[in-house]
Subunit: 247 residues, 2 copies
Amino acid sequence: VARTEVPSTRRERPARSQDVTEGIKQYILDNRLRPGDLLPTESELCASLGISRSSVREAIKTLDALDIVEVRHGHGTYVGRLSLSALVEGLTFRGLLSPDDEFAVLAELVEVRELFERGMADRIIGALGADDLATLDELIDQMASRSDAGLEFSAADQRFHALLVEALHNDLIRQLSAACWDVYVIVAPHLEIVTHEDEKETIDAHRRIVTAAAAGDVDAFAAAVGEHYAPVRRRIAEARQSGAHRR
Amino acid sequence: VARTEVPSTRRERPARSQDVTEGIKQYILDNRLRPGDLLPTESELCASLGISRSSVREAIKTLDALDIVEVRHGHGTYVGRLSLSALVEGLTFRGLLSPDDEFAVLAELVEVRELFERGMADRIIGALGADDLATLDELIDQMASRSDAGLEFSAADQRFHALLVEALHNDLIRQLSAACWDVYVIVAPHLEIVTHEDEKETIDAHRRIVTAAAAGDVDAFAAAVGEHYAPVRRRIAEARQSGAHRR
DNA sequence: ACTTATTTGTTCGTATGTATG
DNA sequence: TCATACATACGAACAAATAAG
């Protein structure tokens, strides 16, 4: 006996899970929606796509993980900011899980950040204005004073490097660099890596970076960036040697 | 009247959606699972986390999007490969959506790939062995013969650059570079960007790259890489100028 | 302060599709 | 062919958050 043959509207397929996420993405594209714009309600999407609410919700969960949509409870679903939050989550988990050598992940993160600044030395120098240099100097002063007071200065440090990378006007590099920083900050503590001991060396390197930038000396800039990351690389290498961490 | 105060087992919280994904991630970490390892069934996770099936499924969908888990229908849920597939999906969508200037996204992708090779010239040259150089030469020959036959050679091109980046032994850079390539291949056709016209120029640049690498000439290598990406940058700039695309 | 409507969050029950043996 | 285990999908109901009157 032919069982439950749908009479008229012959649907090709019951709309697989992937098709649903694709459908929602297509809706956003077709309607030229922008980050922050409101999407139809879940019920409307059910009707529109011809599937159950559970399936719609699962698809939304997928898109939410990619920051393609953003859900606000009791409010609605919006187009997401399209950030690299998924990259941060993925890399963070990889860092926490990493089988053989957790420190390799950290070393790679640092290497990428260094590359963004060292490999783009000429472009960064060319793009930095007098006001930028002044801001960078201020940030270094903040670091120095906080260091003297025995405080951390990671916030100013982060701002410093963000400013360098922002000068490139490459949003992808900016976000990738920020993501590497974010992941490092989350993973490093788990491996008992401490970096605020070579504070003086770090701050001096920052000063040399700004000096080289002000002088327009590309090679000196690149060298200073390399020296800046040296202590971090050293700590990671030391920790990798000594081994024992396993929380 | 106090309504529905749970009597005895005072649960701190009813386990929010985010806590569920966190719980599953924690399970993987606690049990030292590796990519490919089998996770408990959905039912078991329900019982273990004290929540319903739907919630577990939504959490799994989130983790699946990040490639932290991988679901095989009728088979089970496994620890994922922790690839950067989420980055590819996110960037691709960003490229397709990009509000003002879709070409800016492409230009940024290319800039990152170029940076990986140009900014790491010394490291790449130092790491390339004689066998690597031979393989690179073979790939160029493939490109040339396919070009003469009027065929595309993107596959050999991709292998060529993958080989360069692999020499760095930095898995993060390798995957980021591959991700940029993947996104470009998906997004570029939508914007009617064609790059297989300056084929001769491209292939010549590849030869100069290998020659410089064989000679150990860092500057020449970096210059050749720059020249290699020049036609791509030019096409994107042209398309950006002329504007009209909007499919 | 209270109510109501809207929308997402969560749960349960049931049926279906898929792979293994 | 049958049975089992698992993921997939659906629908209805209720809970919780938010906004507006």
